[in-house]
Symmetry: C2
């Protein structure tokens, strides 16, 4: 973690930002290796270009910060104390003053921003989120190793879900089974609300699992992922139950072709936006352009949605160590939907999918 | 919902607040009956003492706002549009100006506050959270009916958990079974991270379920709840597995006595803080005062933690329709912990527990 913090401090110095307050669970974890969701209680990391950083947490978590490997100051406070008394004192003790300070402007609440800014009258505010998001875009070996295991768990979730399919079962029953088996393997948190959608329900990209019962001829869409050691996975697979119509097969084949083409374009030096464009062109040529209403994917890491945005507008360039999803989909109201999604890692020469579950159209008996 | 919104508008008028922006999922739901978590996308309700209110949401959710019963303006925007263009126009169209405006200061991000405040140069900012939290403290019949069903589901979760106990099973396996059965009944979301703790693990009030295996002589602590139609439940029960020591029984009896005494004091007109004090006195007299490190409970409703805070410092008075938890606990490191928690409704004459699972010490064979 130390080099990440040094990198961030150097940036503060270059930008002449005198103090930064980081309080998102994700960025505190990235910079300190300490992972917590303190709910309404205040938690955060204070970084200065010259002075020593410090972490403030509810007192009962102070030891966990040290256990995570943090060697600088940790301030714990109890429920009847005002954490800002300690923060203000720690800032003053360090002699930090400045007319330019930073925090995560789309994370920090207005109330807390006012408490922080009271230490720096009239200071300009810099949003430090983009800097941190950009630091996080390229993963190191340790992060990739964890994401690899998180993706394996996602593969397993799809396997369980397919195994649970039978005539008359409901979406929620299949979903419950998937999460049950993952929890038994020690997964405490899914990376987002698991999706299991049958038939016409999968034709709505914002559909929710419910009491729809499975019947022959349905397409079944699974979209799920886990949180493992602070990192996420995210997979989508679609299978047919008992039979598949020509129309369904055409849709499936189109999505798969688009996904494979987008994967093939995944290599260092290529333009990020092209991955969306390549898939979109294939789907449009097949006549389904209006049924692919979302971008091709999103960056993946500590957050299930992070940088880079895999939109056709993204002019950025792919680099070794980037991780993101590729997930084209076609959703036809009444008929159903198909989406195929993998977690992708950019390698030296090209790419590797971290999710490995097969993608040929399966007809489940 | 209409009377809630009128009540809030009247308050804005009384306080001379010219515009209010509400964007927490909970308070938007409370005032509009529309429930959504838009993640990073902007969603919110704008209320004015004189002009008509409006809701802004991602376009794909606009219809759901109407379906929820909202009859005023709804503005939908797409991902490539800036919602503030629409908001600023809607505010200007209403001719709203003012030097005093409000929002949820501990919810709204700094970034969004600046966008909102750009419409009201130099305006004073009022935090409207306390007003809304206080409005929500007394539940109406419809809210109570939903909470009653949410509490039934929590009872069921404990029943499932106890039914799953057997020698050698892990905490996570029991937890997985509990959530599996609840999901099969259609529950999509737990109201917080489910706790199943065995033996000495239950002796840490911040313990996490893991791979600890159950053995004879363990106390087993369950703490769980569900989200149902926007409302939460929250129950804790503790049972003994195969046998119970005199010490464990003494701890259990003390917690139960404290809980019952606190419940008995639950009636309209009584001071809220007394409920904590009564339980605390019993636990202290029994010699366990240092092992009861938290307040007696918390308000319960749309949030699993809301007003009133059931702390001994709360000078407020109990009123018919209030709902909260009573949950004394004793946690002895190495030996184990006991907590007993019910969801309580204040009635005309006294109280009713919405959670009904039995509380006599059970020794599970």
């Amino acid at each position: 973690m130390q080099h990440r913090l040094e990198n961030f401090k150097q940036w503060l110095k270059d930008e002449k930002i005198e103090a930064a307050f980081i309080n998102s669970t994700e960025n505190v974890f990235y910079l300190t290796n300490f992972h917590t969701d303190p709910h309404e209680r205040l938690m955060g990391l204070f970084v200065f270009p010259e002075a020593d950083p410090f972490v403030i947490v509810p007192g009962m978590e102070a030891r966990q910060v040290k256990d995570a490997g943090w060697n600088d100051e940790v301030i714990g406070y109890s429920d009847h104390e005002n954490p800002w008394d300690f923060i203000n004192e720690a800032i003053e003790k360090r002699g930090v003053k400045g007319d330019k300070v930073g925090f995560e402007a789309e994370v920090l609440t207005y109330g807390r921003s006012q408490s922080f800014l009271a230490n720096f009258k009239q200071a300009d505010v810099i949003n430090v989120e983009d800097k941190l998001n950009n630091m996080r875009v390229v993963k190191d070996e340790q992060e990739i190793e964890i994401m690899r295991r998180a993706a394996e768990m996602a593969d397993f979730g799809v396997e369980v879900g397919i195994g649970a399919l039978k005539e008359g079962i409901t979406e929620m029953e299949v979903l419950a089974k998937v999460e049950y088996e993952l929890k038994k393997k020690g997964i405490r948190e899914m990376s987002f609300s698991t999706m299991v959608l049958f038939g016409e329900k999968a034709g709505d990209p914002h559909g929710n699992p419910g009491s729809r019962r499975l019947k022959a001829g349905d397409l079944v869409l699974f979209d799920l992922g886990v949180v493992l050691e602070g990192y996420t996975s995210d997979i989508t697979r679609t299978v047919a139950f008992k039979s598949v119509s020509d129309k369904q097969r055409e849709i499936y084949d189109t999505v798969l072709k688009a996904e494979l083409a987008s994967l093939e374009a995944s290599k260092p030096g290529n333009r990020i936006g092209d991955l969306d464009q390549i898939a979109r062109d294939i789907i449009t040529e097949a006549g389904y352009g209006n049924y692919f209403p979302h971008r091709i994917g999103h960056g993946l890491g500590i957050n299930v949605h992070e940088f880079p945005s895999m939109s056709h507008l993204n002019e950025g360039i792919l680099k070794k160590g980037m991780t993101y999803t590729i997930e084209p989909g076609i959703y036809v109201p009444e008929i159903g939907g198909v989406r195929i999604e993998d977690d992708v890692l950019i390698t030296e020469e090209g790419y590797e999918t971290l999710t490995k579950f097969p993608k040929e159209l399966q007809i489940i008996e």
